[in-house]
Symmetry: C2
Subunit: 193 residues, 2 copies
Amino acid sequence: MSIAPWRSHLASALKKNRNQPHSRYFQLATVRSDGTAANRTVVFRGFLEDTDKLKIITDARSEKITEINNQSWGEICWYFTNTREQFRIVGKITIIDANHHESELQKARESTWQELSDNARIQFVWAHPGKPRANPEAFSPPQPDANKPLDNFCLLLFEPVKVDHLRLRGEPQNRTFYMRDEAGVWDVSEVNP
Amino acid sequence: MSIAPWRSHLASALKKNRNQPHSRYFQLATVRSDGTAANRTVVFRGFLEDTDKLKIITDARSEKITEINNQSWGEICWYFTNTREQFRIVGKITIIDANHHESELQKARESTWQELSDNARIQFVWAHPGKPRANPEAFSPPQPDANKPLDNFCLLLFEPVKVDHLRLRGEPQNRTFYMRDEAGVWDVSEVNP
Ligand SMILES: Cc1cc2nc3c(=O)[nH]c(=O)nc-3n(C[C@H](O)[C@H](O)[C@H](O)COP(=O)(O)O)c2cc1C
Ligand SMILES: Cc1cc2nc3c(=O)[nH]c(=O)nc-3n(C[C@H](O)[C@H](O)[C@H](O)COP(=O)(O)O)c2cc1C
């Protein structure tokens, strides 16, 4: 597979903003079953090996899982504060949960779990997110097995089909659309900001 | 009107993060006519006087206008990097464009225009956003009248009905839901992060 043409720009933004831990966070928008928008911050966990698919981790008990099962298209909005540039990424989301049948993706889910910090892993043992606040004990469970992902641990794969790259620092500003056609070829065009 | 209970927390976050210009930016998610999510960064322009409605400005030619006309509910995701807290705000968006009939809101649109910098105002004279890149001349038009908003200048009013306030810095973390009932009364509840 050839790497998408927007990847080098994203890599450069990640590099130039790496002194900011928040440069690895972006906002993921999905659609609720009532047809309204949902939006939350998540952590970028790198690309799935040899693909342009972004990795995100989440809890099977979180609302976004129901939303993605209902409408698998989402949009990422990723603003880099040092370089003042934004990537908006439209894509299709695949949920790799404990029951996912493809063994290659199950392996990716496992290795993502293994690479997490203890602090990130333990959150998957916490009480049900969004339910009335549980007792403090519910938040100090024993550490889960660092090798085997818990059942509620999900890997999300976000596969981009459109990228809108806006750079505020231009004169005036610069904005580039990247659009992937059915054959997987990316079309690049300069547009008005 | 009494001020909503989440307002003091937001005011405190704005204060503690004010050394970061990006603390006044948030991501606004809407829904496209094909039922998929859209997401972009916009600037917080304060609250409409004596209300809990957030002000946002935009161009009538931008995609979000079509989207909001189709589905007026959106979600704001606002992450504050210094204090590591997130406000997710569900609300209904009203577009105050040049043809809006309520004179009070037309006044708010006018004063918002007047308070903009020259730099922000001139963008409304630029070539059509998202269309193939125009010649450089299209981006150096004469300054528009600072008193009278251009026809394509829109004020968006975002009226919150639900706020999800997540603070990563707690032990473990803290998360509070604020929900407005039909009578306009806010219910507050502590939930699991
Ligand atoms: C800085 C930051 C990073 C976060 N990273 C993630 C993440 O990687 N995955 C995740 O599911 N939630 C993450 N969250 C929590 C989400 O914003 C959200 O509260 C949670 O996923 C529940 O959302 P949902 O019920 O709409 O699915 C993060 C929150 C913040 C503030
Ligand atoms: C830091 C930053 C601030 C922005 N502020 C606004 C804003 O206040 N209003 C706006 O319409 N667009 C703003 N934009 C541009 C939007 O992100 C987006 O590119 C534009 O509104 C077109 O989106 P749409 O076609 O989906 O409506 C901002 C972009 C950045 C990176």
